[in-house]
């Protein structure tokens, strides 16, 4: 084999460079980074179970959209028989008032850009009330 040293050396340099993101992240301690959406204080149950919401909230929201817009039926009955008004701004954002601290955290992490907010309104987040409790 000609130029054995150069080839093996080159391969080693290539592997180092190609795997740079992996070991750099591991070395800088950010490898176990995960998004941390702010959950509503004082609420312990979303429309469905947390696991279900985590995995299927997009399907649920599409079901809500179709049921409310196309069938004109704006009441959702959850699997444990609680009723909810189908309303993104009025129901979802009531408990999750901050889009930036809830929706965006995971969506940014996964590089997802849902277009809900092109039309649906995000009311300004009110500062937490102080001294009233």
């Amino acid at each position: 084999m000609y130029d054995k040293g150069k080839i093996i050396g080159g391969l080693a340099i290539f592997l180092c460079l190609a795997s740079f993101p992996v070991w750099y992240m591991a070395a800088s301690g950010k490898a176990d980074y995960h998004p941390d959406p702010v959950l509503p204080a004082g609420e312990n149950q979303c429309v469905e179970s947390a696991q279900y919401m985590r995995e299927y909230h997009m399907q649920l929201m599409q079901q809500w959209r179709d049921q409310s817009v196309r069938q004109g039926d704006s009441i959702y009955i959850s699997s444990d028989n609680r009723t909810f008004d189908i309303n993104l701004t009025g129901t979802c954002l009531k408990c999750h008032p901050s889009k930036a601290e809830f929706c965006d955290r995971c969506h940014n992490y996964t590089g997802t850009a849902p277009n809900c907010w092109d039309c649906h309104n995000v009311p300004p987040v009110k500062a937490p009330q102080q001294g009233t409790e």
Partner: protein
């Protein structure tokens, strides 16, 4: 197994009876039947009557227009070519171009006429929509699903009343105060009056009807016995471009 003719006939009859009862049993045992849908009721025909004698638009009143545009976040672009209109006013000759009587009474010709989507019984916009983003509900409202609109504007070409507007740009910067109760639209979708279907769900009247102080607007189900029916069936009225066969459901009392 031995079976005589008599018991064979009995068993057959019993079997047929069970088959006939199946649809009835299915109906009661279905879980969805236990709950009344709060969606649009079939058999309704929502419509509106506009009393042009009572309407004070000729004196500059725009209460209904302001109320409609406020609750639905309708932008004010300030450029006639890109105007977004749900409810607006126009001249008598513009609203009723088929009334070509040159000598119609002057007060009639001077009237300002409120115009909006006619929620036609035979809506041409629905026929041309390639994505079914617009469709006629069971209660007669011609609905828009902004999620599904691809902005092809066929519906705008099909609508003989100019009731549909296209968002050439993001409307948000042109809305003075955004009402959280109703979404805004986005660039590239068509919009129009929805007879306030979002308010009807809550048992409210349309915003324009509620805002009108002169009682010129009447909204409701157009079936015998209702106030709207009495009004429309007892007084002379016109529909816009009725000859086109779209069966418009906004009735103008003259």
């Amino acid at each position: 197994m031995n079976i005589d003719r008599r018991s064979f006939l009995k068993l057959t009859a019993l079997g047929l009876l069970a088959l006939a009862a199946k649809p009835a049993i299915d109906l009661i045992s279905k879980p969805s039947a236990a709950r009344a849908l709060n969606g649009p009721a079939a058999g309704k025909r929502l419509a509106m009557a506009i009393d042009l004698k009572a309407c004070t638009a000729k004196n500059g009143c725009i209460d209904c227009i302001a109320a409609c545009h406020r609750v639905h976040n309708v932008p004010d672009i300030g450029n006639r070519k890109e105007d977004i209109k749900w409810l607006w006013e126009t001249g008598y000759d513009q609203a009723f171009p088929d009334q070509e009587n040159k000598f119609a009474a002057q007060p009639l010709q001077d009237r300002r006429v409120l115009v909006l989507c006619n929620h036609c019984d035979n809506p041409p916009c629905v026929k041309v929509c390639p994505t079914q983003a617009t469709w006629k509900r069971d209660d007669g409202i011609v609905m828009m699903d902004y999620h599904r609109c691809i902005g092809c504007r066929y519906c705008m070409a099909a609508c003989p009343y100019g009731s549909r507007s296209f968002n050439w740009r993001d409307p948000r910067p042109y809305i003075k105060v955004i009402d959280d109760g109703y979404p805004t639209r986005t660039k590239g979708v068509v919009e129009k009056c929805n007879f306030c279907e979002e308010r009807l769900v809550d048992g409210l009247q349309p915003a324009c009807v509620e805002a009108c102080t002169s009682g010129a607007l009447t909204f409701g189900d157009l079936k015998p016995g209702t106030g709207l029916y009495r009004l429309v069936s007892s007084e002379f009225n016109l529909c816009r471009k009725a000859e086109l066969g779209t069966l418009p459901q906004v009735y103008y009392l003259l």
